[in-house]
């Protein structure tokens, strides 16, 4: 059984829970899965055990409260604390994957935007000037910002897992957060003066580079699983 199969099985089996047990279980699931420093397979295995247990208990007329106690957060923390850590190698490959995906996605969007602008609206140039100096600094600055932004989201989701926050409010929070993230990146772009040797690249070449970056990220992901 690999992680992917366990996740799929969990999705199917979860449908058998009643509404009350499902809500209780899913909060724990979110919290435990977001303990990202823990081994994936061990995480999914214990989640499967807990789900199976809950399903059997449900048939015997027991509730999630009876099985896991009335403090789901404390219980989820205990489980997460007892899980074995991810091996450092897989941690590194997730980091590499994140970096490649982030760079790939930003490159693809950037070049697509320029292509549409140039060929669709006759604005801008057919090529982009890349200043090697400022490009390097930007990449070095963007990566920790991107990881920080993702880290904050994970921490928020863990924090909110047992709070039952209003969905509309939550949407608004994420919308604002997305806006702020974009603003942060734009700020860096506009504040950083171009310097270093300039290289001219046609947009489609940039697009290909972006796709290659994304593909290597995907390759790392496949190899990790």
């Amino acid at each position: 059984m690999n992680t992917k199969m366990l996740v799929e099985e969990n999705n199917q089996k979860r449908k058998l829970l009643n509404k009350e047990n499902l809500a209780y279980y899913e909060n724990m699931l979110v919290y435990i899965r977001l303990s990202y420093s823990k081994s994936d397979i061990a995480t999914e295995e214990v989640l499967a055990e807990m789900l199976d247990h809950l399903l059997e208990a449900q048939e015997d007329g027991k509730t999630a409260n009876d099985v896991f106690g009335d403090n789901p957060k404390a219980y989820a923390q205990e489980i997460a604390g007892a899980l074995p850590n991810r091996i450092p190698r897989s941690f590194l490959s997730y980091f590499l994957m994140g970096t490649l995906f982030f760079m790939g996605a930003s490159t693809i969007f950037n070049s697509l935007f320029n292509i549409i602008l140039y060929y669709g609206f006759n604005k801008g140039d057919a090529e982009v000037n890349v200043f090697l100096g400022s490009f390097t600094v930007k990449t070095v600055l963007f990566l920790p910002i991107a990881f920080l932004l993702v880290y904050v989201i994970i921490q928020y989701l863990r924090w909110s897992a047992f709070k039952g926050i209003n969905k509309i409010l939550e949407f608004f929070i994420f919308w604002l957060y997305g806006l702020l993230s974009v603003a942060l990146f734009l700020l860096v772009i506009y504040l950083l003066p171009p310097f270093g040797a300039a290289v001219n690249l046609p947009h489609w070449e940039v697009l290909i580079i972006g796709i290659l970056l994304g593909l290597s990220g995907w390759f790392v992901l496949k190899k990790t699983q």
Binding site: M1, E9, E45, A48, E49, M50, D52, H53, E56, A82
Partner: protein, 94 residues
């Protein structure tokens, strides 16, 4: 661990057996313990298809687990009799 040493069990089965012996621990509390014992290499779990369908994680003791259980039994015997006698003394006095 004694229950696991007798035959391989899965989580729900284990919690039911513990209850049969009068150990009224909350059912969910076995999972953190099972995880910790796996970390310490005392037990091992294998995902296997169960007789009636779903895949279940069945636990068995490792060699290290068997040793630890023997050690526990020795310690327990060492404590049990003195404590029983102490309690008996207490009972005689009142």
């Amino acid at each position: 661990m004694i229950i696991i040493s007798r035959s391989t069990v899965y989580g729900y089965e284990l919690s039911m057996k513990l209850q049969d012996y009068g150990l009224t621990v909350s059912e969910g509390s076995i999972y953190p313990v099972l995880l910790r014992m796996q970390k310490d290499d005392l037990i091992k779990g294998n995902m296997q298809p169960s007789p009636n369908g779903p895949n279940r994680k069945y636990y068995h003791l490792t060699d290290k687990g068997v040793e630890a259980l023997d050690l526990f039994k020795t310690h327990w015997e060492g404590i049990k009799h003195p404590v029983d006698r102490l309690l008996q003394d207490e009972g005689d006095r009142t």
